[in-house]
Amino acid sequence: MKVKAQISMVLNLDKCIGCHTCSVTCKQTWTNRPGAEYMWFNNVETRPGVGYPQKWEDESHYKGGWKLNRKGKLELRAGSKLNKVSLAKIFYNPDMPNMDDYYEPWTYDYQTLFGKESKHQPVARAKSQITGKYMKLNNGPNWDDDLAGSDRSFGEDPNMQSIEADIKGNFEKTFMMYLPRLCEHCLNAACVASCPSGAMYKRDEDGIVLVDQERCRGWRFCMTGCPYKKVYFNWKTNKAEKCTFCYPRIEEGLPTVCSETCVGRIRYIGVILYDADRVQEACEEPDDTKLYEAQLGLFLDPNDPEVIEQALADGVDMETIKCAQRSPIYKMAVEQKIAFPLHPEYRTMPMVWYVPPLSPIMNYFEGKNSIKYPELIFPAIEEMRIPVEYLANLLAGGNTEVIKNALYKLAMMRLYMRAKTSGKDFDTEKLDRVDLTEESATSLYRLLAIAKYDDRFVIPKAKKEKIEHVEDDQGGLGYEECNGCALAPAHGSMLRKAKAGMSSKDIYAESFYGGIWRD
């Protein structure tokens, strides 16, 4: 047993309203630079839909993640090391997504709006941020937002392919859900295994996967390797970039920007202990539908004295263990089994998990006499608007049983709380059937519905001051080497004006109007 700590996240899809606040704040923080315009370390997809980049889940096309070879051993789907060398893939990566699979970033030609008076209403046309030419928009970062069920998004969603035709046919009863996505910070990261330069790595202390900008040589195999298509290529610096899990914040015990700003409070961050020695064995589970359980088996009970002893011996500090004991992730994923990994069948052991959504079923069901007959939820979930098979394809490698159990549990918890708060009788024996007690149902309700800040985010500090000379990092900008990453170019004109004697008030009035940065 080798104990490692992993920072991970759970997203409660039941409460996601698809507002994109997470995406926008993430972009403002990390990717509002030249070359990074098309990168969305975090994005929110409407499901069913093609996602971003388009059809990213179609691994027969993108060749992301791992597969088992004929001997039952793990192998990158994009090809082994030997295969990459022998087939000249180093000169041309056949499986890499093209910019059109994302979108060509654009801005608008705002100047025309301020031109001379003319007969016609002026229009700000879209201008490519790469070529500077006018362009026709036919794809964007969120092109099928809220369009779930349209011909294109429905027909091209890879998760729909294996669902029976009759369910497809019922699409007048269309369904929709949101899926916020970020880097999964996998235990068996395919991007790390793909990187020829060794620039990608997992941090030993918290498992965050990062790209070393110094060592990245732009071979782009990480982009192919990542089945979630969450490693991007900066066309200006010619290097790979990806979600950093806001590690400078995590080191300070703060949640990531996407979690901090989530208005629905759907995101939970915590640390989880796992057995690094058994990761490979778990990844080589031959049955796709059992991969979720195989991954679950890796997580260690942070209250087990034997685990604590081994963790300390393996260099995990006491604060991390304490946080692991209070971890909301452990509670939802391991204790209550209501959270699931996104596409475990890619065999990367992803560490951003999801609580499946329930809303449509409850709307359908709650009009009936539900508190009196709570057992009605069992047949009702089978008839849910979001097909259980769809959720199972997304979150459990096709294992519908585990998804159903989670939904039963969530629905039963709601009924119990509704009865409790409205002073109605509730046969608490019904809770047994879904492995809940009055106590655990209440505590789960508090975690999911009240979702206090301190319950959602239990993050150990990195104690950097004991590890490195922190003063070395002072004034660092992160992406310093790249042209345009620093703020000076953006603010240079302001600084010049200040030097020329303009007051800050005048500069403000000239630079801003209505609180929006002028182009």
């Binding site: 041309y92 093209n98 790390v192 997992k202 071979w219 080497e481």
Partner: protein
């Protein structure tokens, strides 16, 4: 007077170019290490790159090893092996010609792509364009020299008796420019152009050729890093 020109060209210039190569490589790898990338533009354009890049890279690697063999192995060695001069030359012409045309075809496609594709052109730096044209020129000159001169205009010319000797002399710092005076013009231009490319090699995108990630073949798939403790 002509001798001074030839002396500068064949005894000084090569050292300037190769010196610049070594100096630049050291500088780039010590202080600008993070700027060394393959500078891929595959994200922006894929179709032409596929054919162009594979043809060019396979071609140019074969051409490189062809040059190493042709320049470094003395004629005396192949004579001792008993390979007749005619056979050697036919072999060199056929293999070199094939490799050269692969590289040329690849380079033509890549150049077309670089100058005609809007996204690629707009994101190209000046040095990308120079490198592109320089390779196109050097490959055309090389093919013109070995096929044009070697077959049609100067079939009696044997570069292994003068050009190769001079090239080997460069390595022990005793180059004799008189040897180069016997060489046809296309060969001369090809050599100058090639040396120029070596000269600016480390300052451009070409530097990626020096960073083969050989350690990838031996390392474990998952890489963990731990902060150094103080």
């Amino acid at each position: 007077m002509k001798d001074i020109g030839d002396f500068l060209l064949w005894c000084v210039f090569p050292y300037v170019a190769l010196g610049s190569f070594i100096f630049g490589t050291i500088i780039r790898f010590t202080w600008f290490r993070s700027t060394i990338t393959a500078k891929s533009s595959e994200l922006l354009e894929k179709k032409n790159l596929m054919i162009g890049s594979i043809l060019f890279h396979v071609g140019i690697i074969l051409v490189f090893f062809g040059h190493v063999v042709g320049v470094l192995i003395p004629k005396a060695f192949t004579d001792w092996l008993g390979i007749p001069n005619e056979i050697y030359h036919i072999g060199a012409l056929v293999m070199g010609g094939i490799a050269g045309f692969l590289a040329l075809a690849g380079m033509l496609i890549l150049s077309f792509r670089r100058f005609s594709d809007d996204r690629v052109f707009k994101t190209s730096s000046f040095s990308d364009l120079v490198v592109d044209l320089a390779f196109l020129i050097v490959i055309v000159l090389g093919l013109a020299a070995s096929l044009g001169d070697g077959i049609f205009f100067h079939p009696e010319f044997n570069y292994r008796l003068n050009l190769s000797v001079w090239a080997r002399q460069l390595f022990y710092f005793r180059p004799d420019f008189h040897l180069m005076q016997q060489v046809p013009l296309t060969f001369k231009f090809h050599v100058i152009c090639g040396l120029l490319i070596f000269g600016f090699f480390p300052y451009t995108r070409l530097v990626h050729a020096l960073t083969l990630p050989w350690q990838y073949l031996f390392r474990s798939p998952e890489v963990y890093r731990r902060k150094p403790r103080i």
